[in-house]
Amino acid sequence: MKLKTILLIALLLLLILLPSFGGKYLLYMAIHILILSVFALGFNLLLGYTGLLSFGQAGFFAVGAYTSAKILLVIPSLLLGTVVGTLAGGISALILGYLCIRHTRIYFSMLTLSFGMMIYSLAWKWREVTGGDDGLVGIPRAPLEIPGIFSINMNPMENYYYFVLVVSVIAIFFIYRMVNSPFGLTLKGIRDSENRVAFAGVSIRTYRLLSFVIAGLYAGLAGSFLPPLENTVTPPIAHWTHSAEPVMVTLLGGIHTFSGPIIGSILFYIIKDLIVRFTQYWLIIFGSIVILLVLVFRGGVVVFFSENILPRFIKK
């Protein structure tokens, strides 16, 4: 068996068995890692595979989170909240993406930034709908149910953990199949040589838009996981500094590897958890790590590991 497969199975086993030995806090962390992974994987479909750096993903994340929160406050159905939240992220990405993909490079980044901040200012100021800077509170962790067929109580942390885990794994599997399909290859082709792909008769815009919408769906899904976990949503999740999070973890893990965003998300929370034990000012250290990453190992941790560390063990 290949090393990759062994690692993957080990990781999955660990995740499945986590509730049997981990406490509530560990599960809470794991859910956050899964949320960030899904968020960053969608983001990296744009950056790593399509070559577009979005600085407004937090906007779609927030649309997903606020939509699912609004639904859960009215109809306590986890499934409905998640599905509609995800779709809301995708639909807003379709509308705004239609405009954003007219540009590439820095102009694309600035456009996504401006749309993301529009969503932020709505979340912050449109008090009647979003609750303003207090956000929405008292969101229930509604049961997972299809009326008349089954109903699972989501109040225990481990049940909600399993829900997020299963949905995330399915989402990750989907995007894995996607990037290894002709669709993914076309995206990479556009990233590397726009003109050649255009000459082959492919509509560049359609592919960029599709990639944007999928990234929006994933941001929406990640966002809709959040309200049932925290029981509240607040405007900072739409702020541009939150858009920087998937950028950081993706670059940390590695932009040109599929697992990069996931590894980056895991490292992000592990690093945070380790440093916070010593000082509350963990961002000083994390910022330094980010700077070191750019200056020293720009390929990301996954590439660094598989090129520099792994070969030493395999040679023996």
């Binding site: 750096l53 405009l99 102009y107 980044s109 600035m110 401006s114 529009m118 920087a244 950081m248």
Partner: protein, 286 residues
């Protein structure tokens, strides 16, 4: 009614000049060095904190406090350029942006560590207190001071760039880095001076703002985004554009607060998006 509009424009004008101080440095760094510096807002914040400490806490003379703040933030800028920014001029956009973002994280937490996380209100120098009657309405003297400062900075910048040897070298290397290097301009050294200068401009904005604004850890990330809007509207790297962009954003914001108090922030991002969609190189871009 006309008087009210005029007066509101005057309020907006002082906001514009305040934003201009911030956007000028960001624009110069992008125009010459080619890096969009997210951390520019953090340098602004450091300038505000330095002035707050020197003037508000230690009770030094207002002007000496500002001068010392500019020097210290300039020195931080020198370190940033010499050891970090210099290495990223040639690399891909995402890495550039995230390096500058790393500095935001560091400075934000550093500020919290040194000064604490709460917002503080610095004292106002006595000569800036009070109002002047303009159009039969009280107009703060401080606002007049900011407008004068903004105009002075604009004139000084113009003179520096157009009339001095240093300015000529900057313009030469901004339009063709290799050619400028070939005719003997020391590009790395020049870039360091440009970055220091921009850092000091940011600090000046922060320092002059302290008498009326709160000083808090988040002001860097809040301000930098306004500066982005301005530079995008005027054209990335275009100083004249940044000046006009600052006028537009400042006046729009002051009317926005008056007319649609809920959506004033929303509106300036709409303007930013419209400019990007219709004329991505900005109103004054080539």
């Amino acid at each position: 009614m006309l008087e009210k509009l005029l007066f509101q424009s005057l309020i907006g004008l002082s906001l514009s000049m305040y934003l201009w101080l911030l956007a000028a440095g960001l624009t110069i760094v992008f125009g010459v060095l080619g890096v969009l510096n997210f951390a520019h807002g953090s340098l602004f914040m450091l300038g505000a904190y330095a002035t707050f400490t020197l003037y508000g806490k230690l009770g030094l003379n207002f002007w000496i406090s500002i001068l010392l703040s500019l020097i210290s933030v300039g020195m931080i800028g020198a370190v940033l350029e010499r050891f970090f920014f210099r290495r990223i001029y040639e690399i891909d956009l995402p890495y550039q942006l995230i390096l500058t973002f790393g500095f935001i994280l560091i400075f934000d937490d550093l500020v919290k560590m040194i000064w604490g996380g709460v917002a503080m209100i610095p004292p106002m120098p006595s000569f800036l207190e009070g109002n002047l009657a303009i159009l039969n309405r009280p107009y703060p003297i401080y606002n007049i001071f900011i407008i004068i400062a903004g105009v002075v900075v604009a004139i000084v910048l113009w003179l520096l760039l157009e009339k001095t040897w240093w300015g000529r070298m900057i313009r030469a290397s901004a339009s063709d880095r290799e050619m400028a290097s070939a005719i003997g301009i020391n590009i790395p050294g020049l870039f360091t001076t440009v970055f220091i200068f921009a850092a000091m401009l940011a600090a000046l904005g922060g320092a002059l703002g302290t008498p009326v604004r709160v000083v808090a850890p988040g002001i860097g990330t809040a301000m930098i985004i306004q500066a982005f809007v301005i530079t995008v509207i005027g054209g990335l790297g275009n100083l004249k554009g940044a000046f006009v962009g600052a006028l537009i954003v400042g006046i729009l914001t002051s009317f926005g607060i008056l007319l649609f108090p809920v959506f004033e922030l929303f509106i300036i991002f709409v303007v930013m998006a419209i400019v990007l969609l219709i004329k991505p190189e900005g109103l004054f871009g080539k």
